[in-house]
Symmetry: C2
Subunit: 179 residues, 2 copies
DNA sequence: CGACACATGTAACACGTTACATGATTTG
DNA sequence: CAAATCATGTAACGTGTTACATGTGTCG
């Protein structure tokens, strides 16, 4: 649903056609979130079906191929609501890292969990190094693009959080301590 | 795919039937990751189809309803590989929070982005409070279950990371500073 | 026996991804 | 004109979610 809401946000600025939405979406995300063209059109279809978006009556004059869409009142409300919304409340995390550690825990004593945690830590540290290296090797214009920097920050901050979590898991396991 | 890999990990300990897999999966994740029964069976079908799992020849004697499955050699390899694997390399983050901030940026000057960031920050702080409150109100046995604590930690650490990221975004926007 | 937990499924839908098909317009 | 870009779509598949259907075993 994330993509659908994103398109609604873009449509707040005025009518767009599908290809244009794809291009603008990618520009706004600094090329870090490529969209599939097909997905744009099927998503638009669903948005039309559900009343968030409608086709513009008089098609584009300069290019007959273009089929612009605009927000309905409902769509405008949804876009505003989505921007302000905070998702993922108290529901437990459902990601591979958490699942790996939880499932490895107590498989055969704490050893298996330790092995998994160590392997993940190595991999994440390696990822952090790569991220920092990549950040240093980009061209200046790109490095100064705030959107690109924010996207990069997001990755780095999340990776650091995962490392911190692994440390916490280690503590918990030691405290339970059989070994 | 996460669930499929999780089932493979559980099957390393020996043959299980579908219902049993669901129950054990939920127990191992301390009830934080409920599985839909239907999903278990369709996932098992796909795993059989792809050669990671096979039906046990002689069905369970004590209960004719049960249809136990076991790992194939291929499945055992996949489980081991998955446990050691680190996912999400250098691909940019694709989550709602990142998308909201990036799309809100430069919508109409930095103001819209600021509003979105502030709203998200408020919501995330509220979530952190709820998490800590919830942690304090659980019963003792649950609070001492390491799996439950790890799951709770995971949520908290991630939320803190998101808050840190929002602060970084604020900095970047100020530095670009139009106001 | 009747209720409830155990156990296996099917059907329909939402969303995302990949690949492909098909034209129109612009530009060298 | 030919090639590249613009523009709109369809088809197939993987994964997850919800809801429903159906039957067997156990226990009060």
């Amino acid at each position: 649903m994330a993509v659908a809401d994103g398109l609604l946000v873009l449509l707040r600025a005025g009518a767009h056609h599908g290809y244009q939405l794809k291009a603008e979406f990618e520009e706004r995300t600094a090329g870090t979130w490529p969209l599939n063209t097909g997905q744009v059109y099927t998503t638009l279809d669903r948005l039309v079906r559900d009343g968030f978006v409608e086709a513009v009556d008089e098609p584009d004059e300069t290019d007959a191929r273009r089929r612009p869409y605009r927000l309905t009142e409902l769509g405008r409300e949804r876009a505003a609501k989505w921007l302000a919304q905070v998702d993922g409340g108290l529901e437990p995390p459902r990601d591979d890292l958490t699942m790996r550690v939880l499932l490895a825990y107590d498989e055969d004593g704490p050893d298996e969990a330790r092995r998994v945690i160590d392997a993940q830590r190595q991999g994440l540290l390696e990822r952090l190094r790569s991220l920092r290296l990549a950040q240093r090797t980009v061209h200046e214009e790109e490095r100064d693009d705030p959107r690109r920097r924010m996207a990069a920050d997001s990755l780095a901050v999340r990776t650091e959080a995962e490392l911190r979590w692994l440390d916490l898991c280690d503590e918990r396991i030691q405290r339970t301590g059989k070994t």
